[in-house]
Each structure stands twice: as structure tokens, then as C-alpha cells.
């Protein structure tokens, strides 16, 4: 049986049940029941129309459950409301399901879990393993999320920006188990991009593809972080880069710029350079200027300062950095890098050590510690 096909049908079937009047949580439960039934029945007796089969079985389960719970009158109302069976276009329904799972009333953690479960079709256990929390915790997170959105109607237009933020959160989790969340985020964003012409959806998809293309080069076989400038560019996935660039160009051509498109443009300029030295830093700075205008984010300003350091020299980068709050994440790392390029190894070594102690993850901390050690060894050799 084709698991990927089965999983891709889940959001559509849930969405159809919701549109027919089922509450989200009940719809989700009914679809899970139908999936179990499918796993039992399909190997011996595959249906001609898998989606139609799932809708029919899930709807029957839902009615059974409603019947068991609700009063006779309520049940009859539901049955009464049931539309005639038949083929249904589900693109809009699935889009609504994305909105529901990323509803602004949910915390980011809940929205992520619900999206992976209802839209991605992952099991609670798979999601729990990916996030390294107990399965019971993840089950609670999901059921709380369901309760939170219990009264939300599927008809209201949703906030696409929230959906994109949730998908980007999933993407940035990388992978830490059987489920590769980056791949899952790309799959879901690709699906979303097929349902809407929004430029920022395309921008996010392009950004994910361009980042993902570099994944094999980003860490060495022994798990060390490899900075962009030192990456073996022959390891970059040219097929993903080409796709990312195509998606981005089509979006940019529509002339409605947003932050994901601008970030993707920067990633594309990095991907475009055959060697680190050939990177078009001047254009990258221009894109950072756009990003600052779009987001006014201090983190973006920090990245811009590093790009200025590449385009106009380390002094210019340090001047841009001096205008920012030293408490920003990675401020010390950026300052260390620019001071080293400026020839001040003593300051750079001190700042790398400071940055290492503030790092939020192990590969980054180890990388920064190594940088400090490298400079200190150079300084000792000199004296």
C-alpha cells in the first residue's frame, strides 16, 4: 500500500468532513478510524477511488460516533444535512484546514503539532519522537489544540502569514528521528503552493529548497558545523537549487515582495556563487536593505552588518554592528568574525569565546569554541 498517497489524502478527507458540518476533533478521530480500516481492508481489496472510500467510511464513523453521543434530534439533523455523495474538489477545503491548524489562538507549539498531525498525517508518536517529548505530552498538546479550535468555523478566511510561520518553524527543527521535519515542511509547503498563488508561499518554498540544497555540506561527517564560506559546494544539491531559483523568480516577477522572497533571494545569491569569493555581496546587502524595510527585525540588521562587512570591508561592518544591541543573539559571533577580518585577533578570540558560551546549540557552540582556539593558537605562535 502506498503510505505517501494515504497520508496525502488525510487532510482532504478531514477537510471534507469539516465542511459537511463535523467538528474538527470529531472529523480527525473519524478519519483515523477510517485509516485503520483502510490498512486492514485495502491490501486484499484495494478501492478504485481511495479518497472516496475514505470519505465514505470516515463519514459513517463520524455519524456513528455522533449517534452514540448526541441526542436523537441532533443526530437526525446531522443526517439530514448530509450532502449527496460524489466527487468533491478539495483544494479550498485543504487550504482551510491549514488555516485551522495554524489558527492564531493556538500557541506555536500546538499549531505545529496539529499541522503535522492533521495536514501532514503523522502519528502522535512520530511527532513526539521528532520533538523529543513523551508521547503522552504530545497527545495532550494535540488534544488541547483541538479543544482550542473546537468552535472555529472553517468558512472564515484564515491568516496565511501564520500558516507560513508554522511551516517555517517545522522546517527549522531539522530532523532528530525517523521523521525528517525539514522534508515534511517542504512537502507541506509545496502542497500549499499548489493551492494558492500567494507570492510569499512561493517565497517560503524557494527559501526552504535553497537551504535544504546545502544540507549535506553544512556539517562534516563527524558532525562539525561547516560555515558557508568553507562548504564543499560540490555537495550542494543543484536540482533543488534550480527548483528553488525557478520558484523564486516566478514569485518575484509578480512584484509583490515579502520577507520570505527577500530571504530566498539572499539564499539564491549564495547558491549562485561557484566559490565563496565570487559571492555577490553588494546585491546581498541590497536584499538585506529590503528585508530591514519589510521586517525591521534586529536579527536582520545583524545579518546585514555581516554582509556589509563582506561588501565594504570589515570596518564598515563593525560600524553597522556598533549601532545594534550587543545582547542580540549571535552579536558576539558576528563581531568576532569582523574583528578577525580587520586583523584584531586578540579581540576576535575573546569574542569567539564569549559567543561560544552564549550559543543555543551544541554544533554552534563547538564551532565557535574551535574558532577561539584557532585564533589563540595563532596568537601564541606569534609571540
Amino acid at each position: 500500500m502506498d503510505d505517501a498517497l494515504l497520508r496525502s489524502l488525510i487532510p482532504e478527507v478531514i477537510a471534507i468532513l469539516c465542511r459537511r458540518g463535523a467538528d474538527f476533533a470529531a472529523a480527525e478521530d473519524a478519519v483515523q478510524d477510517a485509516l485503520v480500516e483502510a490498512l486492514r481492508v485495502w491490501p486484499a481489496d484495494p478501492p478504485r477511488d481511495p479518497k472516496g472510500w475514505l470519505v465514505a467510511v470516515a463519514w459513517r464513523r463520524f455519524i456513528d460516533a455522533a449517534r452514540a453521543e448526541a441526542s436523537r434530534r441532533h443526530r437526525e439533523e446531522l443526517v439530514d444535512r448530509e450532502p449527496a455523495p460524489g466527487p468533491v474538489t478539495t483544494t479550498d477545503d485543504t487550504l482551510q484546514l491549514y488555516f485551522l491548524c495554524a489558527h492564531p489562538s493556538l500557541t506555536p507549539a500546538s499549531a505545529v503539532a496539529l499541522t503535522l498531525r492533521a495536514v501532514g498525517g503523522l502519528t502522535t508518536q512520530q511527532i513526539a519522537r521528532a520533538y523529543l517529548v513523551p508521547e503522552a505530552t504530545m497527545a495532550q498538546r494535540i488534544s488541547r489544540a483541538k479543544r482550542t479550535i473546537a468552535g472555529v468555523r472553517l468558512t472564515a478566511p484564515g491568516d496565511l502569514a501564520t500558516v507560513l510561520r508554522v511551516l517555517y518553524l517545522v522546517f527549522n527543527e531539522g530532523y532528530s528521528g525517523e521523521v525528517d521535519l525539514a522534508v515534511e515542511a517542504i512537502r507541506l509547503t509545496r502542497q500549499l503552493a499548489g493551492m494558492t498563488t500567494d507570492e510569499e508561499v512561493a517565497g517560503l518554498l524557494a527559501l526552504m529548497l535553497l537551504h535544504h540544497a546545502r544540507r549535506a555540506a553544512r556539517t562534516s561527517p563527524d558532525g562539525r558545523l561547516v560555515p558557508l564560506a568553507e562548504q564543499d559546494r560540490s555537495l550542494w544539491d543543484t536540482r533543488l537549487i534550480a527548483e528553488g531559483v525557478d520558484v523564486l523568480q516566478a514569485a518575484l516577477a509578480r512584484d509583490r515582495l515579502g520577507e520570505y522572497q527577500a530571504q530566498a533571494a539572499i539564499a539564491a545569491l549564495h547558491a549562485d556563487a561557484l566559490t565563496a569569493d565570487e559571492t555577490d555581496w553588494v546585491q546581498i546587502v541590497e536584499w538585506y536593505d529590503e528585508l530591514v524595510r519589510l521586517t525591521d527585525s534586529p536579527v536582520v540588521r545583524l545579518n546585514r552588518a555581516v554582509a556589509v562587512g563582506q561588501a565594504d570591508g570589515a570596518r564598515a561592518g563593525l560600524a553597522a554592528l556598533a549601532e545594534l544591541d550587543p545582547a542580540l543573539p549571535r552579536h558576539a559571533a558576528a563581531a568576532a568574525y569582523l574583528h578577525e577580518r580587520d586583523g584584531d585577533l586578540v579581540t576576535a578570540a575573546r569574542l569567539y569565546a564569549e559567543a561560544a558560551s552564549a550559543a543555543a546549540n551544541v554544533p554552534e557552540r563547538d564551532h565557535l569554541t574551535r574558532e577561539a582556539a584557532r585564533l589563540n593558537a595563532q596568537l601564541r605562535a606569534r609571540s
Binding site: V133, P134, T137, L169, E173, A359, V362, R365
Partner: protein, 136 residues
């Protein structure tokens, strides 16, 4: 979605406000304290923020390599000379603010006289093993 370790220290931290040693509490006060902790964990399970928790025995010792062919050196147990960890809890929350809020609630567990202990808890963020995808 960031994990934090909440550390309860037997000693080493600044004094709690309601600083009566646990063995001098009444059994009811002790039970109320334990129930508060159980309720707290139960609530975090319900909110999808609980990861793990456990208690540690007060005896502990330092161990050190002492050269090839020799048994490791231990310095103890001389428990009274050192800080000790009484127990820990791991939470998985949306923000640092939320972690501080929860640590504050745990610190309010009742002690002597049924009043909150106001003990100091150490709050330590986890380092992730995976580098974030977008650091470049």
C-alpha cells in the same frame, strides 16, 4: 518549543524565604508540598509542556580518573561540603518567559506553615544537538 531544566538544590542556592528544613515540617505540610508538586506536573502534562522529572538522593560524591591502572579517586561522601541536586524537572515550552513563569510557580510550593517556600530554583536552557537550519 525550547526545553529547560528546573533544578532544585538542597543547598548552594540563596536561602529560601520560608527556610524551615523539610524534616521539621508537619506530615500535613509535607503532604501538601508533595501534592503541590504532583498537581504541578499533572498540569504540565495536560498543557503539553512536561518532559521528565525525578528526585535524587542527597548522598553524592565526586569521582575522578587517577591514572592508568589505578581505581578512580572519590572524595566522598562528604555531602555537607557541597551543593547537591535534590531533583529536577524538564519542561518544553514556547518561550523563556513561560519557563520563568513555571519556575516561579514551582518555587511557590507550600512548606512550613503551609506558606510558599519561595525557594530558589535554577533554570537552565537545553542546548540542542541539531544546529538550526538557517544560520547562514
Amino acid at each position: 518549543m525550547a526545553k529547560y531544566l528546573l533544578l532544585k538544590h538542597y543547598r548552594g542556592a540563596p536561602e529560601a524565604v520560608n527556610d524551615v528544613p523539610i524534616e521539621q515540617w508537619t506530615p500535613e505540610e509535607f503532604e501538601a508540598h508533595m501534592q503541590y508538586m504532583r498537581d504541578f506536573m499533572k498540569r504540565l502534562e495536560g498543557s503539553g509542556e512536561f518532559v521528565d522529572a525525578d528526585a535524587l538522593a542527597p548522598k553524592g560524591e565526586w569521582v575522578r580518573y587517577d591514572g592508568p591502572g589505578r581505581p578512580p579517586v572519590t572524595d566522598g561522601p562528604f555531602a555537607e561540603t557541597k551543593d547537591l541536586i535534590a531533583g529536577w524537572m524538564i519542561i518544553d515550552v514556547d518561550s523563556h518567559e513561560r519557563a520563568v513563569e513555571l519556575a516561579g510557580e514551582l518555587s511557590a510550593a507550600p512548606g512550613a506553615g503551609g506558606r510558599p517556600i519561595h525557594e530558589w530554583l535554577e533554570l537552565r536552557p537545553f542546548l540542542a544537538d541539531e544546529a538550526p537550519a538557517v544560520t547562514e
